[in-house]
């Protein structure tokens, strides 16, 4: 019986520690128009995320993002640093929307 209780406690603890991954969604705009084909990443405590690319309507989707606060990075070509960064985007919901990002480059 005691073993079963410990097993249940272990399973509950394991499930409580599980990190749910979220989908982060946003839109890139340049001079008010959708900005397609730009690379977007998130930079957080875990490092830099997998890159994603904005679609023809400027929308981008980052999948499997663990909860936490991130800096959104938008990359221009042939650069070793992101063109623009927007700090403090916190991911806590399964679908986290980032407000439209206006680009000036």
């Amino acid at each position: 019986m005691r073993m079963v209780i410990w097993l249940v406690v272990g399973v509950v603890l394991a499930l409580s520690n599980r990190v749910d991954a979220a989908t982060v969604r946003g839109r890139l705009l340049r001079r008010g128009k959708p900005a397609p084909l730009l690379t977007v990443t998130l930079l957080g405590q875990l490092g830099r995320s997998s890159p994603t690319t904005s679609a023809s309507d400027g929308m981008f989707y980052l999948l499997n993002v663990p909860p936490g606060c991130y800096t959104l990075e938008v990359w221009a070509d042939r650069k070793e640093q992101p063109a623009v960064s927007f700090a403090n985007h916190c991911v806590k919901d399964p679908l986290t929307d980032i407000p439209p990002v206006q680009l000036s480059f």
Binding site: G47, S49, T52, T53, A55, M59, N64, P66
Partner: protein
């Protein structure tokens, strides 16, 4: 010409003089003798000139390896889950380079993909676009060619250094975007003409 390159040329030409003088002073003249074929030329140096040639050759070798290209050209192979007739486009970024417009999808092979051989180089990623024929939006699929900490779909990149080939193990799937409406985004009319991708002016 970059400052680094100019500096290396000056160092490569001037710096062999010092050890050459030292070698010439230390060793008897008859002991310093360089002769034989070099890059198709018959050379014969003695004394200080020979010492200079030896040191210059050593420094030039080091400089050449330092100034060599930061990238190697690899071949990228993979497979896309696509229906024949779909408009597909593949691009490597960075550098942005339109590499293929595939009308039949499935297997692809991209040659001359620049892959960095130094830590500072940017590892490219593959971007696959598809324009949905029904006017719906399909988000481009981005395949990083390096391990990433989190986010995105997980792809396994198999590297074969002998043939300089990168192979994406899993089939690339183009997924539809999240259905929930995005605040401020006008809804797409399903009957609207599909948008065409254009390379933005950066």
């Amino acid at each position: 010409m970059s400052l680094e390159l100019a500096l290396m040329i000056v160092i490569g030409v001037v710096s062999p003089l010092l050890p050459a003088i030292v070698l010439y002073r230390v060793l008897p003249v008859s002991k310093i003798d360089v002769k034989g074929p070099f890059k198709g030329l018959q050379i014969r140096f003695t004394g200080a000139a020979a010492a200079y040639f030896i040191v210059f050759g050593a420094i030039a070798f080091v400089c050449y390896s330092r100034l060599g290209s930061d990238y190697e050209l690899w071949t990228l192979e993979g497979e896309i889950e696509a229906v024949p007739g779909e408009d597909l486009a593949l691009s490597i970024s960075p550098p942005r380079q339109e590499v293929l417009n595939a009308s039949t999808g499935a297997q692809f092979k991209i040659s001359q993909v620049p892959f960095p051989i130094r830590q500072t180089g940017l590892i490219p990623h593959l971007v696959v676009y598809k324009v949905a024929k029904d006017g719906g939006r399909v988000s481009p699929e981005t395949v990083p060619l390096e391990p990433v900490a989190f986010g995105g779909q997980s792809y396994t990149i198999l590297k074969d250094p002998s043939s300089r080939t990168l192979r994406i193990k899993e089939r690339i799937r183009l997924s539809a975007p999240v259905a929930a409406p995005y605040p401020g985004l006008e809804q797409t009319d399903p009957r609207a003409k599909p948008a065409r991708f254009e390379i933005p002016d950066n």
